[in-house]
Symmetry: C2
Subunit: 253 residues, 2 copies
């Protein structure tokens, strides 16, 4: 079974896939050792690890290098968050996807917003269709998890807008639908019932618990940057304690 | 005052400089926010963050990119551990130092071993002299902290060997002497009394406490990879708990 096939199967349930969201190779190794079935980059966590804001500032070559190291080092499937594609040019975006595929990546996240603004549905459909055509022509097997950002931006018509976009994305080749920011159980139910594709939600405060999400038909749960934030908050506690008490052995051993 | 001047001054006491050893930009930002006066890369921690063993496998370009991001993002001085120079060619090593200087780096660590073996003293002296000649000719102000590895390798004649090498390194242009692995208080005293240069020790289990190190004349204390190890051990605890209890809110918020 290829990495893509394993990864795809992890979305078939019965329990939702809990994705370990990474920012470097060591964090992926920790997730793998802890028994996680797959890891994925969080674009925000990767950006912050390198002192950038989110939004493709880190550059595609850096992201590709990280993807190559991840697939070289861990044996579980790796999916890569490529935000809006790290280009506004369709051909460049498909080249990026080819390179990630060649690196052994099992899936990508691609989102329908750029610079904090939703793309018009037809513009994003064109991008998805271009990606679908490219991967079909080049016999690339990958899991495109398509992210729709109405809830992330807390739009008043988030449910309507999401419901409108999902069938379009489904038809244009999505393997999964990612709705970060959604927390309302009825909305989650509406979304999972609206599509045969596996639905991915992201932890944010107020998200229902794992058992409820399972009941609501969610197939994948991401951590976004939240574990990253926890880990560096722990580092902050350790670094401050050491700076104040100078007790090397208690903090460093 | 330039970053080099600030950094150099931090070695003049009275209290030893506690260097925050980083593996990425976020870790440097955490140290800066916690009030650390300077940060330095730990080559082992940087390597592990990217899934490599220590020993220059990560490549100089990657290390340079990290150095550039560090100096761009934090305002405190940054020193970079360049192991054996990321080349065995003297001219290439001086080119690396020039690039780090151009990136705004205040100091470097350069070590007298390659591949786990001490270099003959004369070979390393030649390298230090080449570096000193280069920086003098190019008016580069940097703090070369010269690491000597007899204690790190637990050599039976570590004190004799270290005492023999220090005056040579001093004469060949070292700004500081780094003796990782040394823990015996009498040995530390012998070393600090053997040179007017600031002496740097690294935390390892058994190292005397901060107050004792201050009394022994130590001027700089490094963490090596030990805080990195602690932080990823914390991540391991969090990731395992989440994998087992699936309690998203308790682990991620």
């Amino acid at each position: 079974m290829t990495s893509y096939e394993s990864f795809s199967k992890l979305h078939q349930g019965p329990a939702p896939l809990l994705l370990g969201n990474v920012w470097d190779v060591q964090s992926a190794q920790v997730f793998e050792a802890a028994g996680y079935a797959a890891v994925g980059t969080s674009s925000l966590a990767v950006a912050k690890a390198w002192g950038y804001d989110d939004g493709e500032h880190i550059g595609f070559d850096h992201l590709l290098r990280l993807a190559q190291r991840l697939t070289a080092v861990v044996r579980i499937p790796v999916t890569v968050d490529i935000e809006g594609g790290y280009s506004r040019d369709l051909k460049t975006i498909t080249t990026h996807i080819q390179k990630l595929h060649d690196a052994g990546v099992a899936g990508i996240n691609l989102e329908d917003s750029v610079g904090g603004k939703l793309l018009p549905i037809n513009d994003f459909r064109k991008l998805l269709t271009a990606v679908a055509d490219y991967v079909a022509q080049h016999h690339i097997r990958m899991f495109p998890n398509i992210r729709t950002d109405s809830y992330l931006f807390a739009l008043p018509d988030a449910l309507d807008n999401t419901s409108l976009r999902i069938p379009t994305y489904e038809e244009a080749g999505a393997s999964g639908i990612f709705v970060p920011g959604i927390t309302n159980p009825e909305d989650i139910r509406t979304v999972t019932e609206a599509t045969p594709l596996p639905v991915n939600v992201m932890y944010v405060p107020g998200l229902p618990d794992y058992a409820t999400l399972t009941d609501l038909g969610v197939r994948r749960i991401s951590m976004g940057p939240f574990l990253f934030n926890r880990v560096y908050a722990e580092m902050n506690t350790l670094a401050k304690a050491l700076q104040q008490n100078k007790n090397l052995a208690s903090v460093l051993s």
